[in-house]
């Protein structure tokens, strides 16, 4: 087991390095940090040349890459070319907010998706099963951004209007009400509910189908029959022998999903003005703030690769049969 883990960890280092080269090349080829300010009348041509030198853009590409990589690893991510604020602390804050939202979405989806999936499997071809299947198709076919806008309209605007409330139950933008000091759990919940629902709708659809399929497979397995033959109570058969094994394929999927959170909530965050990575990216693109884009892409790619690793190791740890595949 440990040999597998060590080998897998070591293997991901070159993958990360190669990805960093590719990300660097692609971002450098498509974006020019100086372009954003070059239109500003406050910059003279000499200033632009000086800016290029300050940013180190006059050096050979290989030198640029190596010095960037060195700085990046040490947490020196440079300054935003628009606001001149250091990128690192801002991005860490955004990452924290995104992870909060993403984990809320995945967490809610796990609770509901696993429950629905297991129940569907136990009552295969029942009315509930068909209902769940239909709902899953609906969730997968739903355009996220439209669903988000409809939620804002119905739960944010209409609900407040119908009940004649002075304050909405669910807020449609931001993470907390301006003026609310410190951490207010009720206020935070009022803000996080709608974006969480948007995220959960799609993920629940996937998880419930996954869970249903793997539970159906487990229900037909010999070890479940053995357990029943030994006289284990049905409830214990289903939970301890059935569900625990059926959850294994899902854990991999969950790990991969968590990995894609960092760069994956762009639309939801944009619509709900959630101050996370997605919004940071879109505003950086809109402003031409390309010094933010490079570390941003690198962070999100690292996240994906890291959680791929976690998924593989978890899979091997949970199911000894496929360890040496």
């Amino acid at each position: 087991m440990w040999r597998y883990v060590v080998r897998r960890v070591l293997f991901s280092i070159p993958v990360l390095l190669i990805s960093s080269v590719l990300v660097f090349v692609v971002i450098k080829a498509t974006t020019d940090p100086v372009a954003a300010v070059s239109l500003s009348p406050r910059f003279r041509p000499e200033d632009l040349v000086q800016l290029r030198i300050d940013l180190g853009l006059d050096r050979p590409p290989v030198v640029q890459y190596l010095s960037w990589l060195g700085d990046f690893v040490q947490g020196d991510w440079g300054n935003s070319i628009i606001t001149n604020r250091p990128v690192y602390p801002d991005m860490m804050e955004a990452l924290g907010n995104t992870i909060l939202l993403g984990l809320a979405g995945v967490g809610v989806s796990l609770l509901i998706g696993v429950g629905v999936g297991i129940y569907s499997a136990l009552r295969q071809y029942s009315f509930f099963d068909y209902l769940a299947t239909g709902a899953a198709f609906l969730g997968l076919s739903m355009p996220t951004f439209w669903f988000a806008l409809m939620l804002q309209l119905i739960l944010g605007v209409y609900l407040t209007r119908w009940f004649g409330l002075t304050k909405p139950i669910f807020y449609t933008t931001g993470m907390s009400t301006p003026g609310v000091e410190g951490f207010d759990i009720v206020d935070r919940l009022q803000h996080i509910t709608l974006p969480t629902i948007v995220l959960a709708v799609q993920i629940i659809a996937v998880y419930s189908r996954y869970m249903r399929a793997s539970m159906l497979e487990v229900l037909q397995s010999d070890f479940l029959r053995t357990a029943r033959a030994k006289g284990v109570r049905e409830r214990r058969v289903l939970v301890r022998h059935g569900m625990r094994n059926a959850l294994i394929p899902l854990t991999t999927q969950v790990a991969l999903d968590v990995g894609s959170i960092a760069g994956g909530l762009i639309i939801t965050e944009t619509i709900f003005s959630w101050p996370g990575m997605g919004r940071l990216f879109i505003s950086a693109i809109d402003l031409g703030d390309y010094t933010v884009v490079l570390p941003w892409v690198m962070v999100t790619v690292t996240f994906v690769i890291l959680f791929n690793l976690v998924a593989d190791i978890m899979y091997a740890a949970l199911d000894p049969r496929i360890r040496y595949a």
């Binding site: 899953a136 198709f137 355009p143 159906l216 762009i266 944009t270 693109i285 892409v297």
Partner: protein, 321 residues
């Protein structure tokens, strides 16, 4: 899991009932052993999937309506009408009008053209690329497999929308045309297909009929195109169908973020993006394009599910909804 075997048997029974009571040479009733081609069998399985048939019908109607937009609607998609600004749905304007008095119904029809065109083109071209990559990797194995699959993993590792946004920055300067969007989307849509096809080729190339072909001296090319590919076609078609839904959703998301097809050319995505500013004043502008995207992708997904039952009966893994 339904018992496909039982159904096969049931179908053989149906067949016997339907077949005319022909008599054989001995005067005995000939047992219906009328052979059916794979295609006929698939069509039979598909027909049983009522929902898929209905959805295919809806898709045909939507497609025809968008193609015939100019005939169906008396308005132009960019035709302003200052006497009918921001009207909720009424008689001449079935889906209301927007803040410039443009007829929403007309715009939904024209927008559908782009959305469907982009969706189908992307799915087909990505399907071709994915099939080529997957076939090469699966058939030849070794370093080719390693190289191509690591490349696939890499494309999968980069967050999808990010690459699309960056690609459309690279295209900036020029307003992206629908074809630019097709190219950009295709570049990031071929990976799932490549994985599916690779898996199919890996298992099919070990089958006896391939061995038989090889022992008869068939070339690699012949084995790939005449022996393996036809057997892999079912899952490939299913994959392409499901990709159409994904491509339509992605195109609309991209347009919604403002990086897709630009106004005044309407697409369902950029119409929603514009409607967002009138979310309380003109909610109908939000309803219709969104419902069209939902209905279209839902129908494509159901159609894909029906096709999976029909073309790929062994592969009916319930995990892949």
């Amino acid at each position: 899991m339904r018992d496909d075997l039982d159904e096969e048997r049931g179908r053989a029974g149906d067949l016997a009932d339907e077949a005319p009571a022909a008599t054989g040479p001995m005067g005995l009733p000939e047992v219906a052993t009328q052979t059916m081609t794979q295609r006929q069998l698939a069509w039979r399985r598909f027909k049983r999937h009522k929902l898929a048939i209905v959805c295919a019908g809806i898709l045909v109607v939507i497609t025809l309506a968008t193609i015939l937009a100019g005939v169906i609607s008396p308005f132009g998609f960019a035709q302003l009408n200052l006497d009918a600004l921001t009207q909720s749905p009424n008689l001449p304007h079935l889906m209301g009008t927007d803040t410039l008095g443009r007829d929403e119904f007309t715009r939904v029809l024209y927008g559908g053209r782009i959305s469907l065109l982009v969706g189908i083109t992307v799915a087909v071209s990505a399907g071709v690329i994915g099939t080529v990559v997957g076939a090469l990797a699966g058939y030849y194995g070794r370093w080719i497999d390693n190289l191509l699959m690591r490349m696939t993993d890499l494309f999968l590792a980069i967050p999808f929308l990010v690459t699309l946004v960056i690609a459309s920055i690279a295209l900036r300067g020029a307003v992206p045309t629908p074809w630019d969007i097709v190219i950009v989307l295709t570049l990031f849509f071929w990976m799932p297909e490549a994985r599916i096809v690779r898996g199919l080729f890996l298992s099919l190339k070990e089958k006896e009929f391939v061995e038989a072909a090889r022992s008869l001296g068939a070339s690699n090319r012949r084995i790939i195109f005449r022996h393996i590919l036809p057997n892999a076609m079912g899952p490939i078609i299913v994959g392409v169908t499901l990709a159409v839904a994904a491509a339509i959703l992605t195109e609309s998301a991209l347009s919604f973020l403002g990086f897709g097809v630009q106004p005044p050319t309407p697409t369902w995505g950029n119409m929603l993006s514009e409607a967002r500013n009138q979310i309380t004043a003109a909610p109908w502008l939000l309803w219709f394009p969104g419902l069209m995207i939902l209905v279209t992708s839902l129908c494509v997904n159901f159609l894909g599910d029906g096709l999976r039952d029909a073309l790929d009966p062994h592969q009916r893994l319930e995990a892949n909804v």
